[in-house]
Amino acid sequence: MAGTVAEPLDTERGPRAWAATLGLLSGPVLWMLVFFLVPIVIVAAYSVGVLSLFPTDVGFNLSDWKLLLVGDSVYMSLFWKSVRMSLTVSVVVVVLAYPVAYFLALVVGKRRYVLLLLIIAPFLTSYLLRVFAWKVILGDEGILNSFLVTAGLRGPDDPLHWLLYSQFTVILVLIYVWVPFVALPIFVVLESLDHSVLEAATDLGASRWGAFWRVTFPLSLRGIGAAFVFVFIPTIGEFVTPSLVGGPSGFMFGNAIAGQFTQGIDWQKGSVLSIFLLFAVLLLISMMGRFVQLRNVRVA
């Protein structure tokens, strides 16, 4: 049924159709307004002191915003550290996933969907479990170190400490977690590529590399952009992985936010950090807007 582009029914006009549209709208839209948009507005209200945990503290103020944005702020340096970590993860993930997506979309023949599923399947299994696997593997008394000792490569009292609880571990584990997800948007773009364009390029004398760099790669930028954004956003807000495998040096901005709500009870500061993170993400999306057509990310 290719070519059947769904057009809205033209017979569906007039007040009854309008009422039906409104009826359909009310369910999902109300849910998202009440349980998604309103909560974020309330957090914004907390961030400027209009709402507070303790009724006596209520009063508009920007003190925590100033603390974050003005002068030497620990939170700002933590934020930039997290940006660097997320950038590293996103770039490496895209670089790893691209050849695989290319291979599946353009080189493999019939089996491509089965092989794609092989790559994506781990993403649909437990996130905590996949993080946890690395903790078991990389710990001081973990699988890798106990293997090194058994094999006689390290002394029993001399394990490789840096394997776990470091910035390196957080980055490694996040890469592991996100690679399967990213193969998909790149695959989708490459698969929809018009092969005749490539053939035209080679017919006109381009080498395979030339055709790749001047035709395939530019045409797949949309998928790369989408992949990048969809890894960067969750990793910049990450707090679970650092708390499991990061230790103090792997601590991220998200841990600082979570801490304000779980350990401390400074909801105003926590709200300021949350809203700041939200702004950062929105800024990124507005810059990368043309890549982030949400339709690029289709689920399996």
Partner: protein, 282 residues
């Protein structure tokens, strides 16, 4: 000539693909291996085969309780997510109205919001509602299964829409028009024509929403209150070494069940859609 890769390029890409698959599956394979290892600690060398970690988890009532809670939360939240997702998809594909762009954006927005920020927002919302209710009526909701369900519906909804929309786009509008011409009302047409044609996407959407919810930790950790879900239980026992082997055992079971579910659904959906595609032209 093969345009996309030379013979050598093909082999290099295949080798790279193989390496990545190894990187993705080796940690999971290692976990599976150690779930049968007869040692209280998760270390080399392998000591011998045992099933006692599997027995231990079957006798761990807290863990079973947490698994049940997650099952309940996932079952309820995915029903809501899919129902709202079908409505939302129908709006996006079949209806014309002002502000459609904004509505689509709102429905898909949870894809681009860090779950951390959303979890906190939801916590803050429940707190505000409870404060208000306590002052006005002296009662309050508190946190628990209901708050986790609400949060999971929000984050599953975009995935449901992304699964259903492409399918709905391929359902020919003339089938619906034919039903209308033959005298069916809008609701009847939807129920007897559109919905059956959407069935494979609806099933996929349900399973995606279910797996997402069953595994979700970040949001649940803020709005679960004292209710322990499986990921929350898993997270807290990752910190104590004594419980490690049986947590590995239960994780391995969950892992294999979810892999089976994913592959089964994808294959099933693929077959069903091919049948549907073939049918109208026959």
């Amino acid at each position: 000539m093969q345009v996309t890769a030379s013979g050598g390029g093909r082999r290099a890409l295949l080798a790279f693909f193989g390496t990545l698959v190894l990187f993705l599956y080796a940690p999971l394979a290692i976990l599976t291996l150690f779930s049968f290892n007869d040692n209280r600690f998760v270390v080399f060398p392998i000591q011998g085969f045992t099933l006692r970690w599997y027995e231990a988890f079957l006798n761990n009532s807290d863990l079973i309780e947490a698994l049940k809670t997650s099952g309940i939360v996932a079952a309820i939240s995915s029903v809501f997510a899919v129902a709202l997702g079908v409505l939302g998809s129908y709006l996006i594909v079949r209806r014309r109205f002002r502000g459609k762009g904004a509505v689509t954006g709102l429905l898909l927005a949870p894809l681009v919001i860090p779950y951390l920020v959303f979890g906190i927002s939801l916590l803050v919302l429940f707190r505000a509602v409870d404060d208000f209710l306590k002052d006005a009526l002296g009662v309050y909701f508190g946190l628990g299964i209901h708050s986790i369900v609400i949060g999971h519906v929000v984050v599953s909804l975009p995935y449901a829409i992304l699964t259903i929309v492409p399918r709905l786009e391929r359902v020919s509008i003339s089938l619906e028009e034919a039903a209308r011409d033959l005298g069916a009302g809008a609701a009847q047409t939807f129920r007897r024509v559109t919905l059956p044609l959407l069935a494979p996407a609806v099933v996929s959407a349900y399973l995606i929403a279910f797996t997402l919810s069953f595994d979700e930790y970040a949001i649940a950790s803020f709005v679960a209150g004292r209710q322990e879900t499986y990921p929350i239980f898993l997270y807290s026992s990752l910190r104590t070494r004594a419980a490690l082997p049986q947590m590995i055992a239960v994780s391995v079971i969950v892992l294999f069940l979810s892999l089976l579910l994913i592959v089964g659904t994808e294959v099933g959906r693929w077959r069903y859609e091919r049948r549907l595609e073939a049918a109208p032209s026959a």
